[in-house]
């Protein structure tokens, strides 16, 4: 175990998250069970309401900790970089343990899992919170069952995520496994296998097309979100929101390719260096632009979930308003991240 300030903070955060998420899963299961029994007595109803209230308060705190844990993970990984002579950025840290026969062999899959689970966890946490925002305004809290189900789902994922993080921090990383190399060979060599594009498409011309594609998808998404957010009386149709969601997925893919193939080399002032991890220490403001972009894509997904799961007669007026606000947030995110990347690329 490598002990430094960030690792201690992350270990503390992960243990707290593990405990809280286990509690959330337990309380959620109890809430769902008592809800399914449907005991109408006043006492039983009060107990159920109190339990749900406690669950949602706990889940709200867990949501905040889950959000904080995402950047903290990368701060920990960045703080590990000087520990190995062959590592120059976070990419190298993610490869530590490759080829090992000891416990270190679990490090790369654990980190891959964490990197995939964090965004999913924040998306799920945001989804329950958006639905809860609709539910709390209704008189009979008719969406409580669905909110609790989403809370449970994010709780289960949080248990896995926190357990993986504790395991990653605890596994020794000083095993002699030979040089694993870093991002230069992985991203920049002609035979690089971690790039999104095949070798034939890695040209200046392809970069121009990618830039156009990225700007076009962002513009279309921003316009779509803005148009649908203007509808005040009628909710946006599920078909329109599903189309927007599919667009957000395309946008996410185009954004990731754009970041690696075009933005990273420009922002790093290294025309053939395509490592997105290097942006964290060398151009940290670009992470804000990327976060705005992710927020925009997530907001579209949250709007879709609210439209799908919040379809109760009593909740409809609040559902319309919440979907509208989420789409407005998505529009702001797409415009903001595009503007920010444009300014950053112009200054680079």
């Amino acid at each position: 175990m490598i002990v430094n300030g960030f690792a201690v903070l992350d270990a503390f955060l992960s243990l707290v998250r593990l405990g809280m998420s286990l509690l959330v899963v337990g309380l959620g299961a109890a809430a769902l069970y008592s809800g399914s029994r449907g005991d109408g007595a006043a006492d039983a109803r009060e107990v159920r309401e109190n339990r749900t209230y406690r669950l949602l308060t706990l889940a709200g705190t867990l949501l905040l900790l889950n959000i904080i844990s995402w950047p903290v993970l990368y701060l920990v990984l960045q703080s590990y970089v000087p520990e190995w002579p062959d590592v120059m950025c976070i990419y190298g840290v993610t490869r530590i343990g490759t080829g090992s026969v000891g416990p270190s062999r679990f490090l790369p899959p654990l980190l891959d899992t964490l990197q995939a689970a964090k965004p999913l966890l924040i998306f799920l946490s945001g989804a329950w919170f958006a639905l809860y925002a609709v539910n709390r305004r209704t008189a009979t809290a008719s969406l409580t069952g669905r909110v609790v189900a989403l809370v449970m789902l994010s709780g289960v994922l949080a248990v896995g995520d926190a357990a993986c993080e504790v395991a990653y921090l605890a596994i020794p990383k000083k095993e002699d496994v030979g040089p694993t190399g870093c991002c230069t060979e992985a991203f920049d060599a002609a035979e690089a296998d971690v790039r999104f594009l095949p070798e034939g498409l890695r040209s200046e011309r392809a970069a121009r097309w990618l830039t156009c594609l990225s700007y076009a998808t962002n513009a279309v998404m921003a316009a779509g979100c803005w148009l649908l957010s203007r509808r005040r009386s009628q909710p946006a149709s599920l078909l329109a929101l599903t189309t927007l969601l599919a667009g957000a997925l395309v946008c996410l893919a185009a954004g990731a390719v754009f970041l690696v193939e075009v933005a990273a080399p420009r922002l790093l002032h290294l025309p053939y260096h395509h490592c997105p991890y290097d942006l964290i220490p060398r151009a940290p403001e670009s992470i804000v632009a990327a976060a705005l972009f992710v927020l925009a894509c997530f907001s579209v997904g949250w709007a879709w979930i609210v439209r799908l799961a919040g379809n109760e007669a009593e909740a409809r007026p609040y559902q319309v308003e919440t979907v509208r606000r989420l789409l407005a947030l998505a529009c702001t995110g797409f415009v903001g991240s595009t503007l920010m990347f444009t300014v950053e690329l112009a200054l680079a």
């Binding site: 062959d86 120059m88 190399g181 230069t184 053939y272 151009a283 300014v343």
Partner: protein, 154 residues
Amino acid sequence: MIGKGNLIRLLAGLLVVVGLPLAGRWLRPRAIDACALDGTAPPPSYRVEVRYAGEAPLAFCCVRCAEMWIENQTTPPEAILIADEASSRLIPADAAVYVRSSVLTNASTHCRIHAFGRRADAVAHAARFGGTVLAGADRPFATTHPSPPAPGSE
């Protein structure tokens, strides 16, 4: 008409999206002597300099980085200089004697190619670290800067 609250939000947003990149650029020091490929500081004994006509010389931290850079160019470089590992003095790449040995010159690229100004230094390194003196097409930059024929050869 845009409301006062919205105007404040708009201005705050603009301040973030424009001000943050500007502040980042202003506050961040520019690396003066960094590898042109991956941005790390080139160690004096493994430094490579690639020169193109009418351009400032580009520094690299190892032979592998310089080769990757050259692979991406359409025009061959005008000159390549490489540090003699024994003295850290820059010498023309085509005059250097290269050894591939078990010692890494740059662990992040797995580069194991060492350059020496004197053949005796190269042979001594090869003998000490189980290396091979590179010749012909095995030499780095062989396609862009072929080595002069060895004395006594045809």
